[in-house]
């Protein structure tokens, strides 16, 4: 419930603020080989949209591998009326279907057979209808920009909400480079080859949940979705966020809330005891084997907003170490040939200027040069 969340926050802030004597150190847990190798099922059956289900396995805590997809499984959505929708493996461990049309009021289950022949299925789940997002808005304060979502359900039937978001931002390299160093020569850049403007995107990693249970109307007013700290590169030019809204059942909401509490809202004085969450996926081949994850079904509603740099001024530039170095002709080979610097532009009649590659080529900072289709 909402107030429980704020309570924890208060307690955490209270302690960390009043007693500035505390300290936090990185902790590496003891090496263990206790990985139970459970199947993890992640995704939402999105009615009226494309659906992606990711299958993976649990990993050892100190594993250097970043993911552990489970390939070669058969994944099918089966309705009460025996209608079935097979998902195809798009990339290893990701199973998808272009358009999943679920009937409102009908119950579905997710049916999985892994390559080792084990069979898993979810509980029967109902499809919730998600009301539209009324609006997204944002405010700025000394710490940064907070984006809020507003929504409501006239019929008072939604009550439990979850949001995911996708951020995209345009950013610039420190210098616009007009030359490339090709074949031992400084060659003017083709106007289409500039590496000055990039777009970066990021999907939400935290769970954003809210409930209007306990309110007299099914209204979510100004629920925080995403926060952009002041000075972040994200609004150095222009920023956009697409917020995706899902309606949840009470049980699904409680599952995600417990997951959030035990993996995100920790670190206070009064942390709840970590609990082993019970999802709605079961291994029918071996009832003692646990499967992790919670599958819910709902329609999806989305909304996007843009925030321009001009709207948030003054917005300090992100810290960069980008000196502009003057390179005389006799040093061109040395600096640019050895890739110590990347060329920027002419400087005076004979000299060139250069800077570090990351200051010149925006793609080195994680973005791409491809302008997203929705970008204005």
């Amino acid at each position: 419930m909402r107030f429980r969340f704020s309570l924890y926050k208060i307690l955490i802030v209270a302690i960390s603020s009043v007693f500035a004597f505390g300290c936090k150190e990185v902790y590496t847990p003891p090496q263990s080989n206790t990985n139970p190798n459970y199947l993890v099922v992640d995704g939402v059956l999105t009615s009226g949209d494309s659906t992606k289900i990711k299958l993976s396995r649990t990993r050892n805590l100190n594993d250097s591998v970043l993911n552990s997809p489970e390939g070669g499984a058969t994944v099918v959505v089966i309705g009460e009326g025996s209608d079935s929708y097979p998902l195809s493996e798009e990339e290893i461990g990701t199973y998808s279907i272009g358009l999943l049309s679920l009937n409102a009021g009908e119950k579905y289950k997710l049916d999985i057979t892994t390559s080792d022949g084990k069979h898993y299925e979810s509980d029967q789940i109902i499809t919730k209808q998600t009301p539209p997002i009324d609006s997204l808005n944002w405010t700025i304060n000394d710490n940064g920009v907070q984006v809020f979502v507003n929504t409501h359900d006239q019929s008072n039937g939604t009550l439990y909400y979850r949001w995911q978001y996708e951020e995209t931002w345009e950013y610039h390299a420190a210098f616009d480079s007009y030359y490339t160093y090709t074949g031992g020569m400084l060659v003017p850049r083709n106007p289409n080859d500039h590496v000055y403007t990039c777009w970066h995107d990021r999907s939400s990693t935290e769970l954003v949940l809210a409930s209007s249970a306990g309110l007299s109307a099914d209204v979510i007013y100004r629920n925080p979705v995403v926060f952009i700290p002041k000075g972040s590169e994200k609004i150095s030019v222009e920023y956009s966020v697409l917020v995706k809204q899902y309606a949840l059942t009470k049980e699904a909401y409680e599952y995600w809330e417990s997951l959030k509490k035990s993996t995100e809202l920790t670190g206070g004085l009064f942390d709840p005891l970590p609990a082993q969450l019970i999802g709605n996926i079961h291994c029918t081949t071996n009832p003692d084997e646990k499967a992790l994850g919670y599958i819910a079904a709902s329609s999806i509603t989305k909304q996007r907003i843009f925030i321009k740099y001009l709207e948030v001024e003054p917005w300090p530039p992100p810290p960069q170490d980008c000196p502009e170095v003057i390179v005389p002709p006799d040093s061109v080979d040395y600096y640019f040939g050895k890739h110590l610097l990347s060329p920027v532009a002419n400087h005076g009649l004979t000299d060139f200027s250069g800077s570090f590659a990351s200051c010149v080529d925006c793609t080195l900072n994680g973005g791409t040069l491809v302008k997203p289709s929705f970008w204005p």
Binding site: L61, D142, S204, L207, A275
Partner: protein
């Protein structure tokens, strides 16, 4: 001076005992082996073998050791030999008074005013007591002490022959300076070896054989004294004790001499405020609960924990009494400070195993915090200023020697600390607390006393000006004590205790809410104590508590709020008990304390009760029926006997063996599924779906004192079981839950351990060291729980810390400086660590192991503090002292918790220390 003193004829003493026996004993020969004795022991030995009385100033003899033995020698011969190569001289007068001093000899002509019945402070004895002490007051006190000690008090109706049989002596033991009652003072005689202790009013009732006795009176922090009495019939004797000022060069044994060996109770720890103040603490404020944590068998989950755990009990299994008022949340600031003002507190008693039958309602322990009554003689005050808090206490007589008051208050100014923090979030936040105490004691007449006590504590935390968080204790009670006669008195107590908290947030106008919880209890009790005979002391009484709880209300704040008011139904309950106990001295070796308490709990309407499908896990879906009960209708009763049995066997004068067995029942539970209890946890009464917790404990202890009882040692072993202890389902919702039984599980627990303690409470160096080995294991095997913890196996409780070592030492360098050192070591508490990670919901997540299968690193802390007193001039406007301390001197980063959290989609592990650095503090204290 009490009336009876005027009739105490010193003359009579001298004539009847003195002269008659002098002639008979003049040439009495003394035998004995005095080798290795210090001067006091030597003198005591001589006094016990003769009727000589010695006068001396002990400070002259502190390095003197006797090295002689004697067979049928006269006193003169013995003393000549003992002082042979020293510069000590002695004189003996006609009354068999012996004066021993250094360097010169006293002429023993009898002073003319020796028999005069003048004010005792001007008593003749001043001619004899020599002192090299510059302190006038001390001299004066010494005079009073020796005069009183050597005077013969005739008790009761005098008769020529003393009838055989017993009579009862009763009275108060008080502080000479302030007139305040002294609790737990031991009054005993050596032959036969019997004794009593004073109760919470400083009252004692002592049945002993008629005739001549030397009563010995000892109490922690007070000078030991004695009274010579002839007991004819029942009578009264009030005794004033003097404070033991250790910085003065008087070597006086101040331990509760022998009481740990001779007392019946086991698993009892008593600390007076002086000891508590010696324990170095964070932020320099003497803290009752921190001192309690230094006792063997007491642990806590972490440094910022409100609760403490006694012998494997959970934090809600401690009954915390503050002048008989139940305190539900004994801390400020989320557990960093205890809610008791150190200037008001007199002493603290913790019952760990043999809990007196008059107490009940909690499984693990009773912590009895007593405040002072206030100075009876003059108006005075005390206070202090520390880094975070300031306090002030005033006390004095309202009507001299009849009515006294004490009033104390404490507050914090920590807000400025928040303001100095760079983060703007915090500077708009504020934290504050205060507590206030008042106590009025009134002596209506010799037989009736009245006590009024009030207490309030309040905590508040404000975040960003829009979320307000507060909690509050409120207590008031009235106590009337009536003595029927010397042997029999009764106390009637009635009071109200309350605790409430609320959280309100206006950050979002649509969701603006106030969440509130409160618990109210009205209680009344009648307690009687009857000193039936020399070998039987009987306690009995009845008590009743009416509870009313509002387990939660969630209401809108402001016009725009859409919050629908929600109230969890109020709960009512009546807990009643009757008890009877007997302290029975079976023989000089054996004594027995047998008590029974019968408790009854009624869960009362108005309330709706859900019934569930039998044999099925309780969930919302298995509710089959709802029964509504009318107001005050009995919904469910629970009842049962509780046994309190303790047996003592004296192996010798200095050693004893004790055995005890206890059963307890608890009808109110704290619901908390966080690691440490938090101020926002709620209390819940037992109801048709939640059974009372029950527990039993066996313990065995061996006690031995060394070096004239100045060193006490003890070893106690216990085994304990608990039933119907509450645990919680995964993701349980405890707040605003209308059917809490669907989220709780019942568990059983067992705890066992050994506690070893060595204590030295007197001398320049005093303190204690204790080692505890203890385990607390829980098992959740509720067949209808629907889920099990760790597959139904025993698992360690959150506060299971097997090894604990505590050292508390205080060294008095001189009159004005003392240093205290505190060392704490314990095994790290159990935690649940992740054993695997997985990807879900856009981020890595952790998969946890079975509960509490790992431990955080061991805990070790060193604290040091120094107390600097101002000069000891008696005629000063105020006496002040400075306490300078460093908490966590070695700056060890003791982990409070280890946690894993998602950061940008990746799981990170952190170790959080609350006090990760050395924290210096300086506190100024004053008294006037």
């Amino acid at each position: 001076m009490p009336k009876f003193c005027r009739y105490c004829l010193l003359l009579c003493f001298v004539l009847a005992v003195g002269f008659v026996e002098v002639s008979a004993q003049d040439k009495k020969l003394i035998s004995g082996d005095f080798r290795g004795m210090n001067f006091e022991q030597f003198i005591h030995a001589l006094e016990s073998k003769s009727n000589y009385h010695f006068y001396y100033n002990i400070s002259q003899f502190d390095s003197f050791t006797v090295n002689i033995s004697a067979t049928n020698k006269t006193l003169n011969a013995i003393l000549d030999e003992a002082f042979l190569h020293s510069d000590f001289h002695y004189s003996i007068d006609q009354q068999n008074n012996v004066f021993v001093i250094r360097r010169f000899k006293i002429e023993t002509s009898l002073p003319t005013d020796f028999f005069a019945r003048k004010k005792l402070t001007n008593d003749s004895s001043k001619n004899f007591v020599l002192s090299d002490n510059s302190d006038e007051q001390e001299k004066q006190n010494e005079k009073i002490k020796s005069a009183l000690e050597n005077r013969l008090f005739e008790i009761g109706v005098k008769s020529n022959t003393i009838k055989p049989g017993s009579a009862t002596l009763a009275g108060y033991v008080r502080d000479l300076k302030t007139g305040e009652a002294i609790i737990g003072a031991a009054i005993y005689i050596d032959n036969p070896p019997i004794g009593v202790t004073t109760d919470q009013f400083g009252y004692y009732s002592f049945t002993l054989p008629r005739g001549r006795h030397s009563l010995k009176i000892t109490s922690v922090g007070m000078k030991e004294t004695k009274r010579q009495i002839i007991l004819y019939t029942d009578g009264k004797l009030n005794i004033d004790l003097q404070e033991f000022v250790a910085s003065l060069k008087v070597v006086t044994v101040i331990s509760e001499k022998n009481s740990n060996v001779k007392g019946l109770q086991m698993g009892v720890e008593r600390m007076n405020i002086k000891t508590i103040k010696q324990v170095p603490v964070v932020f320099g404020e003497a803290d009752v609960l921190r001192a309690v944590l230094a006792l063997p068998g007491v642990t806590s989950v972490g440094e910022a924990s409100t609760g403490f755990n006694v012998r494997g009990g959970s934090a809600d299994q401690n009954l915390i009494l503050f002048n008989d008022a139940t305190i539900y949340n004994p801390s400020h600031f989320f557990g960093f400070f205890s809610a008791f003002n150190p200037d008001v507190v007199k002493d603290v008693e913790l019952y760990k195993s043999s809990i007196p039958e008059k107490y009940g309602g909690r499984l693990a322990s009773v912590l009895d915090v007593t405040t002072r009554d206030g100075n009876k003689k003059k108006f005075s005050g005390a206070g202090g200023v520390g880094p975070l808090t300031a306090r002030l206490t005033l006390e004095g007589p309202l009507v001299k020697d009849k009515t006294t008051f004490i009033i104390g208050g404490r507050t914090t100014y920590s807000d400025w600390l928040l303001k100095t923090l760079p983060n703007k979030d915090y500077s708009n936040s504020g934290a504050s607390f205060y507590d206030a105490n008042v106590r009025i004691s009134h002596e209506i007449n010799a037989k009736n006393n009245l006590y009024l006590t009030g207490y309030i504590s309040n905590d508040q935390f404000k975040l960003n000006n829009d979320t307000l968080y507060r909690y509050r204790n409120k207590n008031a009670n009235i106590k009337w004590r009536h003595s029927f006669n010397n042997k029999f008195y009764g106390i009637f107590t009635a009071g109200y205790d309350g605790y409430e908290y609320s959280v309100s947030s206006t950050a979002n106008p649509v969701n603006a809410y106030k969440l509130a919880f409160d618990i109210n209890q009205t209680n009344a009790r009648l307690d009687f104590a009857y000193a039936a005979s020399a070998s039987h002391t009987i306690d009995f009484g009845v008590n009743s508590i009416y509870y009313q709880l509002h387990p939660g209300s969630f209401t809108p704040v402001g016009d725009k709020s859409l919050v629908v008011p929600d109230h969890v139904q109020a709960e009512q309950g009546l807990e009643s008990a009757a008890y009877l106990g007997d302290k029975w001295t079976i023989s000089s070796k054996f004594s027995l304390n047998a008590g029974i308490r019968y408790s009854l709990f009624n869960y009362l309407g108005a309330h709706d009760v859900y019934s569930y499908v039998p044999g099925q896990p309780r969930t919302e879906n298995t509710i089959v029926d709802t029964t509504s009960y009318a107001k005050n209708k009995n919904i469910k009763s629970y009842q049962g006997p509780e046994y309190r049995i303790a047996l003592r066997y004296s192996i010798s004068d200095n050693a004893s063996l004790k055995l005890s067995y206890n059963t307890l029942r608890q009808y109110i539970h704290l619901l908390s599924n966080t690691t440490t209890i938090s101020p926002t946890d709620i209390w819940k009464l037992s109801d048709p779906n939640i059974k009372p917790q029950t527990g039993e404990q066996y313990s065995l202890g061996y006690y031995q004192n060394f070096k004239s009882n100045t060193i006490e040692t003890s070893i106690e072993v216990y085994y304990k079981t608990m039933l119907n202890y509450l645990d919680y389902k995964s993701g349980a919702t405890l707040i605003m839950n209308h059917h809490i039984e669907t989220d709780v599980l019942t568990t059983r627990g067992k705890a066992y351990g050994v506690e070893v303690m060595i204590k030295k409470l007197s001398g320049k160096l005093n303190g204690w060291v204790s080692y505890t080995y203890s385990r607390t294991l829980l098992q959740q095997d509720d067949p209808i729980a629907g889920e099990t913890i760790n597959k139904g196996d025993y698992y360690p409780a959150n506060f299971d810390k097997p090894h604990n070592v505590n050292f508390i030492g205080n060294y008095k360098i001189n009159h004005r400086f003392s240093i205290s050192l505190n060392l704490v070591y314990s095994t790290g508490r159990p935690i649940t660590l992740p054993i695997a990670i997985y990807d879900l919901g856009g981020s890595q997540r952790v998969y946890y192991s079975d509960r509490n299968q790992y431990r955080i690193p061991d805990y070790f802390r060193t604290d040091l503090s120094m107390n600097i007193e101002g000069n000891h001039k008696i005629k000063k406007l105020k006496h002040s002292s400075w306490t300078i301390g460093v908490y966590n001197l070695t700056a060890r980063k003791n982990p409070y918790s280890i946690y894993f959290t998602e950061e940008n989609g990746v799981i990170k592990g952190y170790k959080l220390s609350i006090f990760g650095t050395a924290i210096p503090s300086i506190t100024y204290n004053f008294k006037f």
